[in-house]
Symmetry: C2
């Protein structure tokens, strides 16, 4: 078991991992990719880089720095986090355990942008199978997604019903599933008091519930599953960057505030110092 | 007149100047030297620098970055800040004006470390000629210091009394003064209810008051002169990094908190964003 697992390899995650490692904790950093910085090409305002930097290059240097200082870095996609006696972090490649977890996965991406999406959110549209699946026992369910995160949700939902259709919303299905799959683009969600239909470019499909599991789970998705409070898509943390869940910390864009590299890196440093205290208090 | 004067060229000051410049304000950054980072040789924990960095090198790169983006940088020593209609910043080379000022001069250095120093602070030992000089009209005063800051204080004190001795506390006198000078090392401050004597390695000198003006004025010295609140040597700022003095902001080590580069640079970015709003609100 590790002392700390950091999820996310950008400025918040890597900065935290560097501080944690230097306080002599056993740190595992799990990152899927380079996040939003991968596509940010002209960074001029992060202090002490004389020349314009490329976002991906900065992230790479941060990871190289973390590795040089001894941080264990794994390129895996985190699919779920559970919290019993310790934290269990399930990825596409295995399971890792730690006494504390830092969420540093950046800002939540925009969700399904179709008519009716906002209207039926919470009225049949759900973002968490483990939270809401039991409500739809033996009902007709749609899961929207095309990757490992969708499979993860699908597996949970199969405990409640057999009538599940996967909608990829026009994307290629990247995982194997044993349920019907619809790859048409979704154009609208319809209903009355609650969700009734998914409308695609070619037809309409009756559903009792829709579970959204597009792309990679965001910090918000983890927060939802583990019971951490959020507000306006930002994870709520205290002065020590800890969520309401003991041992679960968050830093960087996923907690809101200034969406700037230097703020995220600073968050990471602050969170790491608090996490070090937290982990050491457990050891007493 | 500039929109903003930033005092200090370290992570907080340069980061702020970069953000201010990019928000299209007219920014002057005044720095005396490389601050505490000049002597910090192994920096491993500032995110995205793969290799160990030298503090001076980081500061140089931050200044080069600021200059590349258009920030006007002057290497001068700030001696005083006044605030009437606008801010007037007096340096060893001239006077500059701005609508807002950012103090980013790092942490206050330790003061005179001799027996009796703490005991008589506020009981005859003062840190501000303009604040307390009038109390000692026609009295016997000592000014401790050896540089331009001491001259600045001396000039103010000469309005109140002619009986002033400069004590350099063992250092070379770097400025010309027309008052008696004592270059012995100070070993103790003595008194009863209030200060009565300066004890040096070679003798005792009767005084009614001692004004400390050693080295370069710190952020605290400026705060004192301009009426900004401090607590435990940290300048107090609100959520917008503004002090209780309208238009006077502070960031980095001089406001306390984590004394880390990344925190100072992040402070600078936050302060700059708030200062931009402040300056633009004045223009309306």
């Amino acid at each position: 078991m590790h002392d700390v697992i950091v999820i996310g390899g950008g400025p918040a995650g890597a900065s935290a991992a560097i501080y944690l490692q230097r306080s002599k904790l056993d740190v595992l950093l799990i990152m899927k990719d380079y996040g939003t910085l991968e596509k940010t090409q002209h960074i001029d305002n992060y202090w002490a880089f004389e020349d314009t930097m490329d976002g991906k290059e900065l992230v790479e240097q941060g990871i190289a720095q973390a590795k040089r200082l001894g941080v264990l870095v794994k390129q895996e996609e985190v699919l779920n986090i559970e919290n019993f006696n310790d934290f269990s972090v399930k990825t596409n490649k295995g399971e890792h355990h730690a006494k504390a977890v830092l969420l540093a996965t950046g800002q939540t991406k925009p969700n399904l942008r179709v008519k009716g999406f906002r209207e039926y959110t919470g009225k049949g549209i759900s973002f968490c199978a483990i939270c809401d699946g039991f409500i739809y026992r033996n009902k007709k369910i749609a899961v929207i997604g095309n990757r490992a995160f969708m499979s993860e949700e699908l597996e949970t939902l199969q405990n409640f019903t057999d009538d599940i259709t996967v909608f990829t919303n026009g994307l290629d299905l990247e995982v194997e599933v044993d349920q019907p799959v619809n790859t048409e683009k979704i154009t609208e969600i319809k209903g009355n008091d609650v969700v009734e239909k998914i409308v695609t470019e070619n037809g309409e499909y009756k559903v009792d519930a829709i579970f959204i599991a597009m792309g990679t789970p965001s910090a918000n998705d983890f927060a939802l599953r583990i019971g951490a409070f959020t507000k306006n898509n930002n994870i709520l943390v205290d002065d020590n960057f800890m969520t309401n869940v003991d041992g679960l910390f968050a830093a960087g864009d996923c907690i809101g505030g200034l969406l700037q590299i230097v703020k995220a890196a600073s968050d990471g440093a602050h969170a790491a110092i608090a996490m070090n205290k937290y982990v050491r208090s457990l050891k007493k």
